[in-house]
Symmetry: C2
Subunit: 409 residues, 2 copies
């Protein structure tokens, strides 16, 4: 028997199900007998909460295509952080017991930094205990902050959503001839890639966003107010893109309204846009509003990037090929061959180089004042939002994969 | 000479430019010599701030099609409230002097309740002073609260955005197997039509939104908490659609965080969703988040309803036909012939019946508990979100009408 398990973890993206579909399609064509999905990430393996994906992978191309273009995670996610094996060998034994029971030869984990850490630790345990199973990571994150890959699945679709939304917000703002400021808060705790991609909203007639602030540069309230005043002299309406994670020179989040920690020690943020709206309202005599793009920037499948969805599918396929080649402890990665014309290839990179590391926007891609990005950033991000997916609609609503297995367990 | 002026007012919708395109197309085919657009509503007529639309209307079908599918308002809007003619006859004289100077035989004003009030007062002044100009209203508002028309242009597209967003937010929420509540705040100060249309997000696998609260019913915090607790017993994740305008039994907005008045005496609201999020956080031991759909629900052209865009265009055309028939002081309206199969026709209604009146969701379309809507609401709203527009994209971004004339005056 040749069986595999696939799981997903971390936060949703518009492309993580495309990678799932890619793994399923390749596993079917490479002769896997049973293709299982573990529900809610690694906890689905611990709890033996598995569903059969074999039939869809082998016999239902229509459903596979719907899955490829469905938001969030068909297999669900988890907030469980795998402990170190020296602290909790029982957890590892339980996971590998499930692998053994289901005769698993390959495990594919689709996720971000934390999931790559899980792949790394499981691989190390497997090698140490002489388990033959191949463990492969498939990247995803709208944050685009994974090392060793040119970019991450999900980023292109989120960037397309951000750029389109900023353009539509600009059209909304431009209707009045009175001065106004619109602050758009964009996801990104540590890396500013997604906020930086708002630059792609600029057109021949619209300079929005007029200001862009990333967490990579210390945020100064004084400079911010001066920047806005300067833009208001040039433009009637000023649109600002700001990352939720901007911090002052001392490293304190501009929004420190919520300080709870999640299982991975991340600080939960709220209201950077609202904080800056209040700041400007107390300083300027113009209308100020803030808009939080919120979860739709990661889940708005209806506006996904075809480039992103197709690459994410291909990365899933590549991961299966890696397992076939006997590779383990590695992540499937995108290598860019050229930006213009845009072309990529797929590679295998050691997962330990990815786990828990963060790729920031290079300082030289941010202007000296720290309120805009450079042409190099545009050249990098522009190809990733190109192309539109053809989502099927029924009664005016997009048709997505039925996820009742996540709701009735 | 046979000339006309078109203007737009009120808040943006995804369909108000479709009505503009419809007026332009019909005016061109019905032999108007010059077709002018007044910038920023009625103030564009007062200030003689006009642009030529004739060439696009007569010779540029490609641009006309882009205009038909562009967000917000190509001609801009205004916050100017026309005073009563007995209080300010100079304002009326100035407006009609512009009409005379440009040899205008018809004026088309595309807007909501307040704009229909303007049409009403201008028509009355014109009739009183024996001016032969036809003054016609073309409805628009995402709020769907205009009387004498089955529904309003812009509502169907906003409803499609709301339903799709709730479905995508539900997919985002369902990935975790821990209890959570997601509150989605939807626009609508006095009328709950748009919030009610969130019901269209329900699918065979997803019951979201599990609770729906409209401003038509008094909002009780105690009942709300009890409702949420009841839903949390049945569902792991509970999604709630709430109108920004919900009020308690005494008529006080649940969110009373901002009380400034705009020129029309409307109370500016903020943060109903956030207020309820805080309420639940202080009451329940589950994760609670709130999402404000904000301006994208009225400006997300990329997700507009084909039914809405086509009807809005047709209403614009019908308005010109009304002027040709010698009608004045009237609004073009939609009459529904049948819900299934859906079919409509267009009519002319006296604008005085529309001005400053508000059409609420009928009480019998809301359930007794006041936390859901009935099948009659579904039957009414469902046809309005059907169909997808084919927006052109360039470099991954939708192509909308160049509005630099609004930015550089």
């Amino acid at each position: 028997m040749k069986n595999c398990i696939i799981a997903q973890s971390g936060g949703p993206t518009a492309a993580i199900n495309a990678s799932l579909a890619g793994v399923m399609a390749a596993a079917a064509s490479m002769g896997y007998d049973n293709i299982y999905g573990a529900l809610n990430g690694i906890t689905g393996i611990l709890d033996k909460n598995l569903i059969e994906l074999t039939d869809v992978a082998k016999n239902d191309p229509k459903m596979l295509n719907i899955l490829k273009q469905s938001p969030a995670m068909y297999l669900g996610s988890c907030r469980f952080k795998l402990p170190k094996s020296e602290d909790a060998s029982d957890v590892y034994e339980k996971i590998f017991a499930t692998f053994e029971e289901y005769d698993i030869s390959a495990f594919f984990y689709i996720g971000g930094n934390d999931s790559m850490d899980t792949v790394h630790m499981l691989s190390a345990y497997g090698q140490k205990t002489d388990k033959p199973i191949r463990i492969i990571g498939v990247p995803k994150t709208i944050d685009n902050d994974l090392c060793e890959t040119d970019h991450t699945p999900g980023f292109g679709s989120a960037a397309k959503y951000v750029a389109t939304s900023i353009l539509e917000i600009a059209h909304d703002a431009y209707i009045y001839d009175k001065k106004s400021v619109t602050i758009v808060e964009i996801m990104g705790r540590d890396a500013g890639w997604l906020t930086a991609s708002s630059v792609l909203a600029r057109t021949a007639y619209s300079a929005a966003p007029h200001l862009i602030y990333l967490p990579e540069m210390p945020f100064s309230k004084e400079n911010f107010i001066a920047d806005v005043k300067e833009q208001l002299e040039k433009h009637t309406q000023v649109i600002i893109a700001v990352s939720e994670g901007v911090r002052d020179a001392e490293g304190n989040y501009i929004s420190a309204s919520s300080k709870s920690n999640d299982a991975f020690g991340h600080v939960q943020l709220n209201g950077t846009g609202k904080t800056l709206e209040n700041l400007l309202n107390n300083t300027l005599d113009v209308k100020v509003r803030s808009i939080e793009l919120n979860v739709l920037q990661r889940s708005a499948e209806h506006l996904s990037s075809l480039t992103d969805i197709d690459e994410s599918f291909a990365l899933g396929q590549h991961a299966v090929k890696m397992a076939e080649d006997g590779i383990t402890a590695c992540m499937a990665a995108v290598k860019r061959l050229s930006s213009s014309p845009y072309s990529v290839t797929y590679a295998s990179v050691p997962v330990e180089k990815v786990a828990n590391a963060v790729k920031s926007v290079p300082k030289e891609w941010i202007n000296a004042r720290g309120n805009d990005v450079t042409d190099a950033l545009v050249e990098y991000a522009a190809p990733l939002i190109v192309g539109e997916t053809q989502i099927p609609y029924k009664n005016g609503l997009p048709v997505y994969a039925d996820i009742s297995h996540l709701l009735h367990k």
